[in-house]
């Protein structure tokens, strides 16, 4: 809530004026029954036609003034609501940009997206509704009751009692239905994920002849959704008839009591009509108010979810320093890494010293920690124990920007962005010239993609779905190369390339004499010719040296080698 109010400050004038103008409109509405009572008692009953005309014109005047005030109020409310939600959305997006990998992992992608999209929308409608109605509805209800006291104290008391009973009923029913709507939403989510799964897994499902089971599961969830919808419907169906019944009971009691008052000359007929009018107004506003409570409570829930992200205190906060890595050297000093939420260390006691310009291969089994090792160089994750040094400085003392400027990484999972090929490469270095871009594409053997797609400004479809796995990998390699980084990391990012292309790439990398390169791979042929090879096993380094050294000193390396290359087949 505090965060919501902070963002509202920018729209303070609108947020105050809107309800205020709404209040004035409500006040004008409340005057209507008074005018009607006056028309009947002074005009009609005294047969004074000019009086009736005059007061009818007053009614029109009230309506006109009401229109003016409410239009202004709606504008302010809309401006404030749209402004607040936009401001929250921007703050949230900027906050996400600043989060470290650890915090991104903790939060999870899907929820960040819903918070940015549907939650900010909920806040918007909540604020909009609240500004428009929060003062108006209770004011009209209370105002109507107060006015009724002025006309007739007894009726005022009857209204007050009726109002209390009605509020309790509305409150209880609303409270009952909100969790039901949440349940409905959850059931709907199940149906949704069933449907998504049946599409994404269509081949596997059919290959295993599992269609019937999938249908059965869907039908189960579909039935459950149906049941809860009908149940929720039953509860909310009580609302209208019950409020209708209660308000009319109040009406009967009122008429009965008014009859006695009129008989005893304590009340006029016109006043009875006015009281009846107030009662109708109370009913209308009360129902609006119940809706308002639902919308605002949704908005409040959403703003809490947004605040939770905005309030994240990053466990791996960026440092403010001018230190630049001096060269491409990398040193791990007794490093261990344990991911958040994991019970065991992923990396243990890593000690390694790599001079600038070395071309290093990293090999090891599935889950041995290869990716974790290279992800520590650009500081994606910080060591739980020990220190990592890049260019002779501890990564904990280098700012994120400076560190990542020095390191070009090609992640395992090749992700390209929608936009042109040029846009994608420029993400690596926005100051790159046309020549730089072409050079880097050639470096990654990716220039043929440009020719095939029709130029650098050819637009790639969402997520690069019109590219093959190999094409995506080559574009991401070019994106890292255009940075001309001190350290280039290829994390199993040539796996979809054929051997000939991969060999070309390796030759290109060898030409960059000043650049330190890390090539993570499952293929022995990708690393065996490099300067040094790191062999990973179960989170530890079990071998470091050249191909020939490792063949004689590292049994795991030898085993990998033999599993891939038949003895004697190597040419």
């Amino acid at each position: 809530m505090r965060i919501l109010f902070n963002h509202m400050k920018k729209y303070i004038a609108e947020s105050i004026l809107s309800p205020l103008f709404k209040l004035i409109e409500a006040l004008l509405d409340l005057l209507v029954p008074f005018v009607i009572a006056a028309i009947i008692d002074n005009g009609v009953l005294k047969s004074d036609k000019p009086y009736v005309i005059k007061f009818s014109l007053i009614l029109v005047g009230l309506a006109l003034a009401g229109l003016a005030f409410s239009v202004i109020a709606q504008f302010f409310a809309a401006k404030s609501a749209v402004g607040v939600s936009s401001s929250l959305r921007r703050a949230l997006f900027a906050k996400i940009q600043s989060l470290s990998y650890t915090e991104l992992d903790k939060a999870g992608t899907a929820t960040l997206i819903t918070r940015l999209t549907s939650d900010t929308q909920s806040v918007q409608s909540g604020v909009n509704m609240a500004l428009r109605l929060f003062l108006r509805s209770p004011f009209i209800v209370l105002g109507a009751v107060v006015c009724s006291f002025f006309i007739d104290v007894k009726t005022g008391i009857i209204f007050s009692i009726g109002l209390v009973v009605l509020s309790v009923v509305v409150f209880i029913l609303t409270k009952k239905t909100i969790p039901l709507y949440v349940n409905t939403q959850n059931s709907l989510d199940n149906v949704l994920s069933n449907t998504r799964e049946s599409l994404s897994g269509i081949r596997v499902i059919r290959a295993y002849c599992n269609e019937e089971n999938i249908n059965k599961e869907f039908n189960k969830n579909n039935e459950a959704l149906n049941k809860i919808q009908i149940f929720a419907g039953k509860i909310s169906a009580i609302m209208n008839p019950l409020t209708y019944l209660l308000i009319n009971i109040v009406l009967i009691v009122m008429i009965r009591s008014n009859a006695i008052s009129v008989d005893n000359d304590l009340l006029t007929q016109g006043q009875v009509i006015a009281l009846y009018n107030y009662l109708s107004q109370i009913l209308v506003e009360l129902i609006k108010f119940a809706n308002l409570i639902i919308t605002t409570s949704k908005g409040i829930a959403a703003s809490k979810r947004i605040s939770a992200i905005l309030n994240i205190e990053d466990s791996d906060e960026d440092v403010n320093s001018d230190i630049l890595p001096e060269n491409g050297s990398v040193r791990f000093n007794n490093v261990s890494l344990q991911y958040f939420g994991s019970s065991a260390s992923t990396l243990k006691n890593i000690n390694i010293d790599i001079p600038s310009g070395t071309k290093v291969g990293v090999i090891g089994g599935t889950g041995s920690g290869k990716t974790s090792l290279v992800n520590m160089i650009p500081g994606f994750y910080k060591a739980t124990e020990g220190d990592v040094f890049v260019g002779n400085h501890n990564v904990k003392e280098i700012s994120r920007k400076n560190l990542r400027d020095a390191v070009g990484i090609v992640p395992q999972h090749a992700q390209v962005f929608s936009g042109t090929i040029r846009d994608n490469i420029l993400r690596g270095n926005e100051n790159a010239t046309e020549e730089d871009i072409i050079d880097s594409l050639k470096f990654a053997s990716a220039y043929d993609i440009v020719t095939k797609k029709g130029g650098l400004d050819a637009v790639l479809s969402e997520g690069g779905s019109d590219l093959s796995g190999g094409q995506k990998q080559r574009l991401t390699i070019a994106r890292a190369a255009v940075k001309k980084p001190k350290i280039l990391i290829l994390d199993d990012s040539a796996s979809a390339l054929d051997f000939a292309t991969e060999k070309d790439l390796r030759n290109q990398i060898n030409k960059l004499t000043d650049t330190t390169a890390f090539i993570v791979s499952q293929r022995i042929s990708s690393v065996m010719h490099l300067d040094k090879i790191v062999v990973m096993d179960n989170g530890q380094i079990c071998g470091y040296g050249t191909h020939d050294e490792l063949l004689s000193t590292c049994p795991i390396y030898k085993e990998i080698y033999e599993s891939q290359i038949e003895k004697g087949a190597s040419a």
């Binding site: 229109l67 504008f75 809309a78 596997v204 599992n210 919808q229 994606f380 969402e462 891939q564």
Partner: protein
């Protein structure tokens, strides 16, 4: 035309719950009519309160008793109508949803491949939801709305023809105005929604690739782009919201004016002795009531439009032609024979992909498919499992033409591990058991052990009961492949198909898995698509494909001595 038939189909669907539907309409009509009598009775009650000492209590009590009966029956009928209309529409939509979902299993895979999944999903979920909400509103607001309008008209005309006529003439003004505004705002909302779509797409793309953005110091650029889109959205959204929020105040204003005119003419009628004071009160109540259903009906109209649009989208799926019927005219022998007979195939009409593909594998042979990306290896698998049908030529499995046996029979004869490591949401054990639900826990663990997956599963927090899903990131690509392999291990059949099944697994594990497969598949035919040449070196026959054609075939040694594409590919891995 299309609209009409959609409406007819919805009605037909609803009328399957005939008694409930009739009852809903009956209750709704009854309570709307009853509700109309209320202002008359209240007016009459007020008429008994003429003045001091002049109150007709006897008459008043009779009227109050009538009011009690009216309100109790109205409340009950309203409740029934609401509960039943909920049931009718939810049930109708549930059925449609079921039809649509089950229809997916009968659709050709080409349909699912060529349509955005998100779109199909939103048809079955949110469109269905809009339809059911729409049906409820139509049933509970449209009918009472019409009845209230007609009823109030009649009552007003009987109470005071002149005033009634004035109200009738003036009220449509508010509808016209409301229509005018909503038409304008509809356009604004369209603009604003499309910008919102753009923003959502941008945010979606950026957040899913957040780590890349962060790795390349692109954060500021991302914020700048996001704010540019957001600024446009903010402006268009403000306009749309503000103008749409004008509907209420302006119709309220018109109704208030009508009310004032009714008060004026009504008062004159009372002065001229044409109307009682109670009658005036009833009349004013009607004048108030008369405006509301018009507003409701305008919103019901737009609700109807969107319901029809959503129903159409749902029907489109249900009406999509099914894949060809299963034929059961030949007997498939479980002997592992596979034969492609001069097969031609293309996904797009004039872009031939597979051309004259001809090969056969007899029982127990290991066949490998090799070739550059996009040469059609995966397509061959698609054809063999009948995910797609050949354009020309035929495929036979177990000496039976695959189009002449039921698809299930064909697929039960093949075990496959596909390139995509799809996992169903559920536990790991559920996933391994996917093809064989009756498998015991022991079977599951043995399969996982054979697939070298047991050791990492044991390390997970809940072991075999760890919940995974296709989207969850708690497993690496290699681990997902191991689970898919375990799933295949449980499903034993004469033919084994591996499409890049071990691409993310390290080679040592791959060798172990290969041995396990060998024991499983001894005497079985296997077809392997692989990138890594070490995986396929021992195959009985290697088929080298390029641009949809077979260009070389033979054993490893034969192909190496041939000195063609295969030997080039093979040698390149050792060169530097």
């Amino acid at each position: 035309m299309k609209k009409q038939s959609t409406v007819l189909r919805i009605l037909k669907n609803i009328s399957q719950q005939k008694s409930s539907f009739v009852f809903v309409i009956l209750c709704t009509v009854l309570y709307s009519v009853l509700d109309l009598f209320l202002p008359i009775q209240i007016g009459k009650a007020i008429d008994t309160l003429i003045g001091p000492g002049n109150v007709d209590f006897e008459a008043l009590f009779v009227i109050l008793a009538k009011i009690v009966i009216i309100i109790i029956s109205t409340a009950c009928l309203q409740y029934f109508s609401s509960v039943l209309s909920n049931r009718v529409s939810y049930n109708a939509v549930k059925k449609l949803r079921k039809q649509a979902f089950e229809h997916i299993s009968d659709l050709p895979i080409s349909y699912v491949d060529s349509h955005k999944h998100g779109d199909i999903v939103s048809r079955i979920t949110s469109d269905a939801q809009v339809l059911s909400d729409g049906l409820i509103i139509i049933m509970t607001s449209f009918v009472p709305g019409i009845i209230t309008i007609i009823g109030t008209l009649i009552f007003m005309m009987t109470l005071s023809p002149l005033t009634g006529a004035v109200v009738i003439v003036l009220t449509p003004l508010s509808i016209l105005l409301a229509n005018f505004i909503s038409k304008r705002t509809h356009k604004m909302f369209k603009v604003s929604t499309s910008i919102l779509g753009e923003e959502t797409a941008y945010v979606n793309e950026m957040i899913t690739r957040q780590k890349v953005t962060s790795a390349f110091n692109n954060e500021d650029k991302a914020i700048e782009n996001m704010q540019e889109i957001d600024e446009r959205y903010k402006k268009s959204n403000l306009l749309a919201i503000f103008f749409s929020s004008l509907v209420n105040p302006s119709t309220r204003f018109i109704n208030a004016t009508v009310y004032a005119v009714a008060a004026l003419i009504g008062s004159f009628s009372v002065i001229d002795g044409l109307l009682t004071v109670g009658g005036l009160s009833s009349f004013l109540a009607y004048a108030n009531q008369y405006g509301k259903p018009f507003n409701n009906i305008t919103s019901v109209m737009s609700e109807m439009q969107s319901s029809i649009a959503c129903a159409e989208r749902l029907f489109e799926i249900i009406d999509e032609p099914k894949q060809s019927e299963n034929v059961d005219s030949e007997v498939l022998q479980e002997n592992g024979e596979v034969r492609f007979n001069h097969v031609y195939f293309s996904y797009v009409k004039d872009r031939p992909l597979i051309q004259d593909f001809d090969f056969s594998a007899s029982k127990g042979k290991h066949i490998a498919l090799v070739g550059p990306t996009g040469c059609g290896k995966t397509t061959i698998i698609n054809l063999l499992l009948r995910f797609y049908e050949t354009d020309e030529g035929s495929i036979s499995v177990g000496n039976a033409d695959i189009t002449k046996v039921p698809r299930d029979t064909l697929r039960k004869n093949c075990t496959m591990v596909l390139q995509e490591t799809w996992l169903k949401s559920g536990t790991i054990a559920d996933n391994i058991r996917f093809g064989k639900p009756e498998a015991t826990d022991e079977d599951v663990i043995n399969a996982a052990k054979a697939a070298c997956a047991d050791s990492f599963i044991q390390r997970l927090p809940n072991k075999y009961d760890t919940v995974v899903s296709n989207e969850s990131g708690n497993l690496s690509e290699g681990e997902r492949q191991l689970i898919c392999i375990a799933r295949a291990m449980l499903h034993r059949s004469p033919i084994l198909i591996l499409d890049e099944a071990t691409s993310s697994i390290d080679t040592r594990t791959e060798v172990l898995i290969g041995k396990a497969f060998d024991t499983l598949t001894s005497g079985r035919t296997s077809i392997i698509v692989a990138h890594r040449l070490s995986t396929i070196k021992n195959a009985d026959s290697i088929i080298v494909m390029k641009e949809g054609r077979i260009i070389e075939r033979g054993t490893h040694n034969e192909l190496i001595s041939l000195g063609g594409l295969y030997s080039n590919l093979y040698k390149s891995q050792f060169e530097n």
